[in-house]
Amino acid sequence: MAMDRGLLAVSSASLAAEGGNSSSVLTDADIMLRVKAGDESAFSYLVQKYRRAMVHFMYRMAHSPAVAEDLAQEVFLRVYRSRENYEPTAKFTTWLYRIATNLAVNHIRDTRHERQGNMASLDEPDPETGRSLDVADVKPTTEEVIIQRERLAAIRGKVESLPERQKLAVLMHKYQQMDYKQIAEVLKLSESATKSLLFRAYESLREQLKEFV
């Protein structure tokens, strides 16, 4: 956990020291420019800040906790690899989500065959932890468990089967708390196109999940 403590401590210390009172206004883009200048602790800082968001995003794209972690780490490696070409023209998160989106979409295309065979087992326990991560640990009755699994399988299945851009927009809007403007930037769409993309996505989810609400 050197990244957690050592490097991160160095990072926040040096960020604070140089920024003085204005250290709180350092943007992610500023920190990324430090990564570009060779500051490895600045990179650790960004990993710590966004690892949770990346794992969550990738999990809902790939449906596997282990694959989600691998993909999230690959996102950060790509950030690191392209540090020298980084230009703060867009928000750091826009850049981050573009990398993540490309990676996830390619992963899904590459593994489409395996996934089609696995669709039925979407809600099976995770092989690594041996339990289903989605079912709350409150000792529900067998019947409740079955119903809950059905609901979850439906949610995952319906989101999964949305057209690619609609799915990405829903994941960013609903689960990553991003606003329309940011989603529009990541997907390279206008704001109004994003608005109607999201409307169509939620409208079909509403229709297809009717029986569960």
Binding site: H56, L133, R151, K174, K195, F199, R206
Partner: protein, 175 residues
């Protein structure tokens, strides 16, 4: 901006209204979530008077709440260790001598390396101490003269290559 909203105006705003992001009618701003309260009085007025839209909004709200049930796992305790290992690997890969070997794949560098080797061999062979060189041919013999000619030809043609390389040296990053 119209003074009154009709059903069509409100339809596309449903996801935002249901997500509770404040005042969608006056453009979406920032990421600030202002709670589920609808601030725009025109939207409010329409919803109060239109059963269809208010029912639809309620339905969107339920759908969004249903989606909340899909939780994602937290990063595992090994995330940082693995990340750190991958990063070290990445850094090592760009620093270790293998990085040099990869230059051999670049034709220009391979050529210049060949030039260096040829030049080195030529120097050794024309030196006074032939040592245990595999080609111990006496100068002055026919075979020796022909070989020397070959070498000189190679050497001079290589100098042309060197000139070319010097011109290009700005383009090629120095390893």
């Amino acid at each position: 901006m119209k003074s009154n909203f009709n059903c069509d105006d409100i339809r596309e705003l449903m996801p935002e209204l249901a997500a509770g992001s404040g005042d969608p009618a006056s453009e979406v701003k920032g990421s600030e979530i202002k709670g589920s309260e609808i601030k725009d009085s025109r939207i409010k007025a329409h919803l109060q008077s239109c059963a269809t839209c208010s029912a639809e909004l309620e339905s969107f709200r339920r759908t969004l709440a249903l989606l909340d049930e899909w939780k994602a796992p937290e990063p595992s305790p090994y995330f940082d260790v693995r990340m750190q290992a991958k990063l070290r690997e990445e850094i090592a890969a760009t620093k270790r001598p293998a990085g040099w070997l990869h230059w051999l794949r670049k034709p220009v560098f391979a050529v210049s390396l060949t030039v260096a080797v040829v030049a080195g061999v030529t120097l050794v062979e024309t030196g006074h101490a032939p040592l245990s060189g595999p080609v111990a041919v006496e100068p002055g013999t026919a075979v020796g003269d022909l070989q020397a000619l070959d070498k000189n030809h190679d050497l001079y043609s290589d100098f042309d290559v060197l000139d070319d390389l010097q011109v290009q040296s700005n383009v090629v990053a120095n390893p």
